[in-house]
């Protein structure tokens, strides 16, 4: 009987990340920017997506970006029903799982086989904890923080903010009624992720939605430029 210590020193999620890299590369070659939207439940992910679709649909057809949405929830297809009038959408029902993983996303993506648009938006399960650890093959991770949640949240969920590239502050139409400081939330989030882009908006009255859409289009142009260099 012999005993042998095998040194591995490898992250348990390394394999899943390699799969995510492959998905990311394939989507970049198609010219599709993949966005992973994270937030707590009810922060306004679906409303933001509906406002985005409405904003773009007001443009003349040749300047109108196309997007599809994959939406994750524990139960029901309520979000898919809300978005279906605007965009191609697939509901991923996790049956109780607290986050999405790439195999679920890839399966939902395959059911959108004829979609070859500019933006694939993944609406994650409402949760600021577990989704932060799982790479879905996105090019851009966007975290939403709504004014009703409080401006002290970034420091409480450091991984979600550290792994995001942009912070959307939503429901800012409620600022006159709730004690929320955009400056305090920005400072708290940027202590964790100094490079975070901050996009304040209200999906309800439309303020800031144009800037958000321009940000997305800018990120897609950067992706295309990076991809043509390699």
């Amino acid at each position: 009987m012999t005993s042998q210590v095998i040194t591995v020193h490898r992250d348990v999620l390394a394999e899943a990340r390699a799969d995510a890299d492959e998905f990311r590369g394939a989507m970049a070659r198609r010219g599709t920017l993949v966005v992973n939207l994270l937030s707590s439940p009810g922060a306004g992910k679906t409303s933001l997506l509906a406002a985005t679709a409405r904003h773009w649909s007001a443009r003349e057809p040749e300047r109108r970006p196309s997007m599809a949405v994959l939406v994750g929830d524990l139960a029901t297809d309520r979000d898919a029903q809300r978005l279906a009038p605007f965009v191609p959408v697939v509901q991923m029902t996790t049956g109780g799982a607290c986050h999405l993983e790439l195999p679920l996303v890839a399966r939902a993506w395959r059911s959108l086989a004829d979609f070859s648009g500019e933006f694939l938006m993944i609406e994650n399960v409402g949760n600021l904890v577990c989704p932060a650890s799982h790479d879905l093959g996105e090019h851009l991770r966007v975290i939403l923080l709504s004014s009703t949640e409080g401006d002290d949240k970034p420091g409480k969920y450091p991984k979600a903010f550290r792994t995001s590239q942009a912070l959307v502050m939503s429901k800012l139409d409620l600022l006159p009624y709730v004690p929320f400081s955009v400056a305090a939330a920005t400072a708290d989030a940027r202590a964790i992720q100094p490079g975070l882009a901050v996009l304040p908006l209200s999906a309800l009255d439309g303020a800031g939605v144009a800037a958000w859409c321009e940000y997305l289009e800018g990120e897609r142009r950067k992706l295309l430029a990076r991809n043509s260099c390699v």
Binding site: M1, T2, S3, Q4, V5, I6, T7, V8, H9, R10, D11, V12, L13, E15, A16, A97, C98, H99, E101, V129, C130, A132, S133, H134, G155, P158, K159, R162, A191, I192, Q193, P194, G195
Partner: protein, 122 residues
């Protein structure tokens, strides 16, 4: 709580290592995690107890090492611990830093046991 799915991925890797090395059993599985791992050690332990009996890691001991969150500065090259999730270099205040430990769920090592070939019977 996603510890269950992380431990499933961990056990898949342990089983593959055991098979590759022709091990008859796994004595120890050593993992490392830290403040930005988003993993609760107690939940990892309980997921391991639930899931490992059906695998090559049945009867193995899980050792969880908790390490601090550390980073290296790309500007001044100093290495430091990140306190209270303030992601800036304490030496030069740069934000160009790379986390070096404490943000993952890392399989450090496995201790495998192998039956020696019974030479006297060959």
């Amino acid at each position: 709580m996603h510890e269950h799915s992380l431990v499933q991925a961990l056990l898949r890797q342990v089983e593959r290592l055991a098979a590759q090395h022709g091990a008859s059993r796994v004595d120890e599985v050593r993992v490392r995690l830290g403040p930005l791992s988003n993993v609760e050690p107690l939940f990892v332990e309980s997921a391991f107890q639930t899931l490992s009996p059906a695998t090559a890691a049945a009867e193995s001991r899980l050792v969880i090492e908790e390490v601090p969150l550390t980073a290296r500065c790309a500007v001044c090259d100093s290495e430091f611990e990140i306190i209270r999730f303030q992601f800036r270099c304490p030496a030069c205040d740069s934000a160009e830093i790379a986390v070096t430990a404490g943000d993952g769920f890392v399989l450090e090592s496995v201790t495998l046991r192998r039956e020696e070939p019974a030479l006297d019977r060959v």
